[in-house]
């Protein structure tokens, strides 16, 4: 098996390069993370992020054969060879497959990803009907891996100003929440040509999401909500 990996250390390299690794054997049913660990055992200079290994933490998102995936839940047998592994697109590279996600988290923080409640908070708990709770399905499951945002051309062109699919999914997650009272503020903060309306419904985000979520739908709902509230 041949694996071609993007290698770059900005502190020592003048330009990125691709390094090829040949593996004689890979255990049956291996995930891509297993392969990366196997390569790491051969070449300890290779850097990549990983943690839970079960598609929950979202730390090992990379671009494989042109598609953003989580290494730990991507079966090697499903991949076309040679396998090309690159860091997430549109992010500054710290080293090899490790990218600087500061911009991504900045956008996440900017949408106030928490409940905003103006009324006195109930002493025991907030109550929701099953229907109200159901509206959060497909929104709360985001693991913030960045696969969607970094596959979005609108984010590539305007990374500082377009919030990106992951942050906008979170914005809608709180707009859709019956307990939240910050909808007007949230929608006002998304007005203008950049933060929300750079989305051109390309839907790369839907294609890339390893959890099967639909940020494009959430963005559409934000636009509809904005329209309804302005009439």
């Amino acid at each position: 098996m041949q694996v071609n990996i993007y290698r770059y250390n900005p502190e020592t390299d003048s330009a990125p390069r691709t390094q090829s690794y040949q593996l004689d054997s890979v255990v049956e049913g291996a995930m891509l993370l297993d392969v990366l660990k196997q390569i790491k055992a051969l070449d300890e200079t290779l850097s990549f992020r990983h943690s839970c290994g079960e598609g929950v933490c979202g730390s090992d998102a990379v671009n494989v054969n042109g598609h953003n995936v989580l290494c730990c839940i991507t079966a090697v047998s499903d991949l076309k060879q040679p396998i090309e592994i690159r860091p997430l697109p549109g992010m500054p590279v710290i080293r090899d497959l490790v990218v600087d996600m500061s911009q991504f988290y900045h956008h996440y923080r900017a949408v106030d990803p928490y409940l905003i409640v103006h009324d006195p908070v109930p002493e025991d708990e907030f109550l929701q009907t099953p229907e109200q709770r159901e509206k959060l399905d497909g929104l709360y499951e985001c693991i913030m891996c960045g696969a969607c945002t970094t596959s979005c051309p609108s984010f590539w062109w305007n990374p500082e100003r377009f919030r990106g699919p992951a942050a906008l999914l979170q914005a809608y997650r709180f707009v859709a929440d019956s307990r939240d009272q910050g909808t007007a503020t949230r929608l006002k903060a998304l007005e203008g040509p950049y933060r929300l309306f750079r989305c051109h419904t390309i839907m790369n985000c839907v294609d890339a999401c390893p959890k099967g979520l639909n940020p494009t739908h959430a963005i559409g709902e934000l636009k509809k909500k904005m329209l309804k509230d302005s009439i």
Binding site: P153, W157, P193, L196, F197, R198, K223, M226, L227
Partner: protein, 118 residues
């Protein structure tokens, strides 16, 4: 000012103009399929009837507005240098404005053949 339409208003306007243009296309296609004009005079009579002329004028405006918002979106995405962006947007605005003006003049001339506007 047309150039300052942004965010939700631009998004909404682009969709409304798209729907209007689609309706115009369907009506025009049906007209040409079911009872196409047999002569220039017949064609001119239809085009210069007040409702049709009004719809055509609105269609020209819709085309320009739709194109302005769409092209501006592309420029915002791809042209990041401020001076170049202003230049390209100005050129697009002049072309679209000139095109709308020219179409209006053609329409007015068709409605009033004796006019010396052109």
């Amino acid at each position: 000012m047309i150039t300052s339409i942004q965010g939700m208003h631009a998004w909404l306007l682009q969709r409304l103009t798209a729907v209007f243009m689609l309706v115009c296309f369907v009506v025009a296609a049906l007209y040409f399929l079911l009872s196409p004009p047999q002569s220039y005079e017949e064609w001119r009579t239809v085009v210069t009837a007040t409702p049709v002329a009004l719809a055509l004028a609105l269609f020209f405006i819709a085309v320009s507005l739709h194109a302005w918002i769409g092209l501006r979106d592309i420029i915002i995405d791809y042209v990041h240098r401020f001076s170049l962006r202003i230049l390209v947007l100005s050129l697009i605005f002049i072309v679209l404005f000139g095109q709308t003006l020219w179409l209006f003049l053609v329409l007015i001339k068709a409605m009033h053949p004796m006019t010396t506007l052109l």
